[in-house]
């Protein structure tokens, strides 16, 4: 029972409330970032799919560069390096900006491969029936592609929720950060705090992954 003592000591109502407050920040930052990344990622993915001469190549270069860099570096860069060239943001905005840059690149790839999975003949058929290229994309290709994109997009949201934890390095008051404040009080608090923090992430992410799986099953 000795082993359980720190758990009882840590799991007070105040501490749990404090952790939940942190989790609310995590969820808020993740939600704002996913919406922004979806908009920017869709735009980039569609522009790359459309093979517009210089633009598509340039976007490919940017997306590949970002996808091949660690998110931690992008977060550090946004918060510590950008002020040197006059772009200063407070912590929450910096976290959202960094996550959005990284996740937009990831989502643009989901959008692009979703679009690519629709047979090229459909574009030709759409054009032949008198629609212009934009109309073909909007009414024929996108509605079909979007359905295929939903499961990977949900998975990406799970990644984003996990990735938000990296913003503790710039002191975003998220779930992990608030956990750190609690376990800093006493060495024996480390394990109980991590168990609770991990459980909170797990419950939300696991639920989302079940949703993603169900959507995938529905399609096949």
């Amino acid at each position: 029972m000795e082993f359980l003592a720190p758990f009882i000591e840590v799991y007070t109502l105040d501490n749990l409330k404090f952790l939940l407050e942190g989790f609310a920040v995590t969820l808020k930052v993740a939600a704002i970032s996913i919406v922004l990344s979806f908009i920017i990622g869709s735009l980039i993915g569609t522009l790359r799919y459309a093979r517009i001469p210089v633009v598509s190549k340039l976007l490919a270069l940017i997306v590949e560069t970002i996808r091949n860099l660690p998110l931690l570096l992008i977060i550090f860069f946004t918060y510590f390096a950008l002020p040197e060239i006059g772009i200063e943001m407070e912590i929450t905005s910096a976290a959202i900006a960094a996550l959005t840059v990284f996740e937009s690149a990831m989502i643009s790839e989901i959008i692009r491969s979703g679009l690519n999975s629709i047979e090229k003949g459909q574009v030709e058929a759409g054009r032949a029936s008198g629609l212009n290229y934009i109309q073909t994309l909007r009414y024929i290709i996108l509605p079909q592609a979007l359905r295929r994109m939903v499961p990977p997009l949900v998975s990406q949201f799970i990644s984003l929720l996990k990735d938000t934890s990296l913003a503790v390095v710039i002191a975003l008051p998220d779930l992990l950060h608030n956990g750190q404040i609690i376990y800093a009080q006493k060495g024996s608090y480390v394990i109980p705090v991590f168990v609770m923090v991990a459980l909170m992430y797990f419950i939300v992410n696991y639920t989302l992954s079940l949703v993603a799986r169900r959507l995938e099953l529905k399609q096949t």
Partner: protein, 212 residues
């Protein structure tokens, strides 16, 4: 314009960081491959309890942030930053590799297991000598992707003073007060590692798609 004196004056630090990033990623890849294979076999073994344990590991680890795991290994054990970080990366990556290997094993036709068993091999032997060698081929491209993720995730070593590329970058920027240029050089070093890997994996994926 970039201040190249940061690169030339601190070249040894950058190289040291690069070395630790590579070593940590390689060790983590190898050990998570072993651990992941073990968990994948548990997942599909004809023993209910093992199936369950394997699933719990995979589902739990995949749904929590890798940073939480790295902090936990660092704070709960008596390890240095590099060791703790590498262990944390291994625990995390093994869950993803286990899923990839399981998918690979499942893609080998069921008849192969039956044929191997009927020639007198035990379940373990059939798995090791007949099924796994065939499954590995299918698993190579996703393993490559996991290795790229490992190189990127190894940057988390910086948070536990692991001495990697990101960590050295932090030290250099704290010393020179020139953060922007330092991080650009750090980024270039990461790209030197990840871009060839990405191209290689892309090539393998295309070749696999053709051979099927």
């Amino acid at each position: 314009m970039l201040d190249f004196s940061i690169l030339t004056n601190n070249f040894d630090s950058f190289l040291e960081g690069l070395k630790i990033t590579i070593i940590s990623s390689l060790i983590a890849l190898l050990s998570s491959f072993i651990l992941g294979t073990l968990i994948a076999v548990m997942r599909i073994a004809p023993v209910k309890l093992l199936n369950w344990l394997g699933s719990v590991y995979i589902e739990f680890i995949r749904n929590i942030p890798v940073l939480v795991i790295v902090f936990f290994t660092y704070l709960s054990g008596n390890f240095g930053g590099m060791t703790a970080g590498t262990i944390g990366l291994t625990i995390y990556t093994a869950a993803f590799i286990a899923e990839a290997i399981r998918a690979g094993i499942m893609s080998v036709p069921k008849g192969q297991m039956e044929a191997a068993r009927s020639t007198g091999l035990s379940y373990g032997q059939a798995m090791r000598m007949v099924i796994l060698p065939q499954a590995i081929k299918i698993v190579i491209p996703p393993l490559g992707n996991q290795f790229i993720n490992l190189v990127k995730n190894s940057s988390l070593l910086a948070v536990v003073a692991g001495g990697d590329l990101m960590y050295q970058g932090d030290l250099i920027s704290a010393k020179t007060y020139i953060t922007f240029d330092t991080y650009v050089f750090v980024a270039l070093f990461y790209l030197i590692l990840t871009i060839p890997l990405s191209l290689g994996v892309g090539f393998l994926e295309k070749r696999m798609a053709k051979s099927n």
